[in-house]
Symmetry: D2
Subunit: 349 residues, 4 copies
């Protein structure tokens, strides 16, 4: 019963097999491997973006920080939600990689900006000429950090606001596959067709060992990205093993298959929790992550049974067994029905 | 016939098997996996350093830059050779990670500093009070970038100079295993017993997929290192796959076995090249890397046969078939005798 | 009728005279001038802080950024109000000088944090271990950017919260003199006795040409400050001219005399505006800066008469002559009664 | 007898008078003062560069660092001599302001690069693709840090090498006036006509209190420069006092008059030292700085008489009264004939 994060599950067997296949003899290092050529071609095809620049790194923080450093100047500010991973969970990596850019927090609802809140915050900057930070990129996360999902037209609306101010848009897609699976949108529709300029395309949370792609739909700054990647120590010598993971992920739609499985697992979890009346969902569990409140006693039963997930708000310790505490539960591709059902049974008591 | 670099060979089968074994169910992320506990214990034992802080990253540049950023202040200068990887091959990553420290180049012979050249360069800084950069760490590479090896007493002598000035010592051990195999020294003798404070302990060039350990013999700044690693986007969520590689590397002395194999391959290469009189070695091929000069015609024959290595100085194109051109040849653990012999046979004509 | 800022007025004649006196022959550069010895001694005496380290720079942004860079690590976050000069008006200088630290905005009332809002924001950080930014210094501004003033016990309460978390406190005292003059507190009471560790002690807005002192009550990091000042290009060769300004400022209490004059001018302005009922003060005009709302028609009359001040909210252009627009008005030491009275007469119509 | 540096002399009376004149009433802050308009116009006229962007800062290190940060990317390397002020005397300010660029040292003769040494060093970089630092700007100092002077055609030859590689050229003109006075070249000839893109135009060492202009002959990155200046905390609120100094400096050729006086003082010094045979000049004393070797006994006599200058090589203490020690002697505009003659008389014994 592991629902703490989708970053803790196993690597998919087809990915492991691809790593084994790649492990033959010598291969050109630093991204010049032949497998990377296939990765690049596949991503361009999947995204209907024949000119896109495609790079691999090993962590989501690297993907986000390097993409943003390529889009932002150090005297600018990046617009994101308070909950954004780049704000809360990267230990100032965006500030580091950009050389000291600021983050301006856009008020959010259920983890999502609205065009109105975004426009207001952007308008609020640059009222001070050279004195204040200058407006920089807008960074959106989809699936959001609260498990909600932007529809394609919502992304397009935010990107439209950015475009009104001449600002580029970055999409943190650590769970991009889950967003595509949840909405049925095409990868192109959710990115460049909606106005996204740079994408962090996650793999690690969805069955890979540790690979994320950065896709620059405008390749004008591709070489700068490569230099920043190397300078950030994120260029791998034995790059073929990143390429092999990503290629297996893309082939035969494995990335969407695994995301659909994770989303379905989360739906099963939600269904099981919703059986009784004691569980209240905070946000619509649209993808593979749920936030729900249920009584302390149920949490305590889960805890005793060894279930792993985050108690997001409240404390297991307390006198009132009926007080609702919020749980964050995340399903990865490998979440087993049996574990889900056992978890929800325990909650239902 | 691939002798271009030891960063291009395959992963050792025992490492692949360890990855497969690690790929079961869920594991705690971000270095809290159980395998990392075993890695830490093994490294402490191998290095006879029960207090050492041990961390894993995926690239050698990350290991070096993060170690140096923990040792250096941004207003300091780091002492290294002109050939140092941190100077030539990291696209300013040390400057980036330290927040703008400088590198002071210490004249070298065959890739090695001497205590005299190091002392002179250190003495030459800080003659200007607050105006000049302040003295910072000394960074030594062993095996050096030119394939030569420092003996333990040579490291101790350099570290003694650093200690005279109160400066910490970093050892770039991208090929540390090869240095240990070449000298017969113990890991402790080559590091903290000689005065080294922080070690980049390489695995990638010696049979791993992409793992380097950073060993801080003085753990006082361990937490700072962890924060800098995260901020640098080098903390892996699925960390168990780094741990599993490193544990397989350490178990049963695989790391030394592979290094010895690579060194032996290089010795065989040297022996084969030395058969005739046309080859001149630039440096004593002490470990797994050779620099040698031989006639252009031999290079052209190699090129036609598809051999891969670096022509370090000179150009394949030229009129004089007898003009000596310098080759850099590196053997990894998987270098086959047949390929070596074929290579040397071609050179001998 | 210039009330746009106290950064635009003339230099006090006694300061000009001091510059002329200092302009004799040669003087040791870079802060080794004899006048600086007198400055240091005077500041230590005025602040009852015989061990304090004292440095001069030429801009308030430099004072703040260098002080914060000495107190903060790049993986930390600095706590300040949204209105803080370091957040709004320094074009990311704090992020630059700290090497990429973040600013966490503490909700404010009339430009002031409360112990409760500060405690909540500090508590909200570091819930994520290595992933989130670490807690760093608290930066308070007094006089605040909205013209309000913290009493000594309010500063002490905020510093007490910081101390509970082991965090240092920086005081942005660009208008420190006005705050002292307004409260009657001693310089020691408003700083180290209340728990302040580093002070930006402003002079430029109060009659100097361009000098701010940084006072480090804990001198442990004084040398680091000196190196950061030089590295930031803020160490002046002809330092005596900074020293001479500051010494004239300190001698015979000129700094307090000028601040009292500016505060009195602002009180006269408030009195004049309050005569009728059309003016509504947003904040209590405790020092030398006022924010007040009055009808558009009055603004238009001022504009036609050439008055200079900021229309803080609203636009001069609009149909409704009675709609209240907010003005920011700042008095410097040289504000003339005649100009003030003319200004208020115009407002009153 | 003060010959330690030209950064320690007094401000010229005409500059002091200009400051007094500027000290009337209110003036627009942050470079919007009317005097700055006159400065900009004058510099454009003097340099025959009607499009040039012109900015003022208060220190030479700020001028150099900000100019270089505007020309260089953080993954590049800047080419300069080992003696360059940006290398030796700015405590890593260029590395700080550029966000971590490197400095590549070009071997020099008497403080000067040659086209050949520059070309070789530039050619030596970028042999490693993404791995090494990329080629960045060339920074030349004139008058050099060793008191020698580049003729206009020498600057043009260096800039020609830079142009061959597509690199911009920065001129550190902390003593630009002395170079112009020494060579008789026009300001345009020594800068943009020779291929210089950005100039640090010094005033502080030549009679100002603390002002340097940065002249960007290509104004394309002017706004970026302004943002970097503000972010570096080098934008002055009471900017008129910088403008007033610079305007006085430019008017009626004061800048050249003072430089000529300093150069003449140095020539008198050289003449006086050359009278006997005991003095050996290291470099031709072309401008206002001399390096010369003379016996220890002469140094000891100077020391006893209170003369101030740098003993550049060697130590006053030693047994041999005849051993030659090297002195660095710098004359500023205010150097008095009497002091010079007394100095040389003492040397001559």
């Amino acid at each position: 019963m592991f629902f703490a994060s989708d970053n803790s599950g196993p690597v998919h067997p087809r990915v492991m097999a691809a790593l084994a296949r790649a492990n033959e003899g010598y291969a050109m290092p630093y991204g010049a491997d032949a497998i990377m050529d296939a990765v690049r071609a596949q991503i361009r095809e999947i995204f209907e973006a024949p000119e896109a620049a495609v790079y691999l790194v090993a962590t989501g923080t690297a993907a986000n920080s390097l993409a943003l450093a390529t889009l932002a100047q150090p005297y600018q500010t990046i617009f994101c939600t308070p909950e954004a991973h780049i704000n809360q969970d990267e230990c100032n990596a965006p500030e580091f990689y950009t050389g000291g850019a600021k983050l301006t927090l856009v008020p959010s609802q259920a983890g999502r900006m609205t065009p109105e809140t975004l426009r207001a915050r952007i308008a609020g900057e640059e009222s001070r000429g050279v004195h204040g930070p200058q407006r920089g990129p807008v960074s959106i996360t989809n699936v959001t950090e609260l498990g909600t999902v932007y529809a394609v037209d919502e992304i397009a609306a935010l990107a439209g606001v950015a475009r009104d101010f001449g600002l580029p848009v970055h999409l943190d897609g650590a769970r991009f596959a889950n967003a595509v699976a949840a909405t049925g949108a095409t990868p192109a529709e959710m990115t460049w067709k909606a106005g996204v300029e740079a994408l962090s395309f996650g793999g690690t949370k969805n069955g890979l060992m540790g690979v994320e792609a950065v896709v620059l739909f405008d390749p004008a700054r591709a070489w700068e990205f490569e230099l920043r990647r190397k300078r950030g120590a994120h260029l791998f010598s034995k790059h073929r093993y990143l390429s092999a993971q990503m290629l297996a992920y893309l082939e035969d739609g494995l990335w969407l298959e695994l995301a659909a499985a994770a989303n379905a697992a989360n739906a099963r979890l939600a269904h099981g929790l919703n059986r009784g009346g004691a569980v209240r969902y905070l946000y619509d569990p649209a993808a593979n992550m749920s936030f729900a409140a249920f009584p302390r006693a149920a949490h305590q039963r889960l805890h005793e049974a060894g279930a792993q997930y985050y108690v997001w708000e409240g404390s297991l310790e307390g006198d009132d067994p009926d007080e609702p505490l919020t749980a964050r539960m995340v399903c990865d591709w490998s979440a087993a029905d049996e574990a889900i059902d056992r978890f929800t049974d325990i909650v239902q008591g």
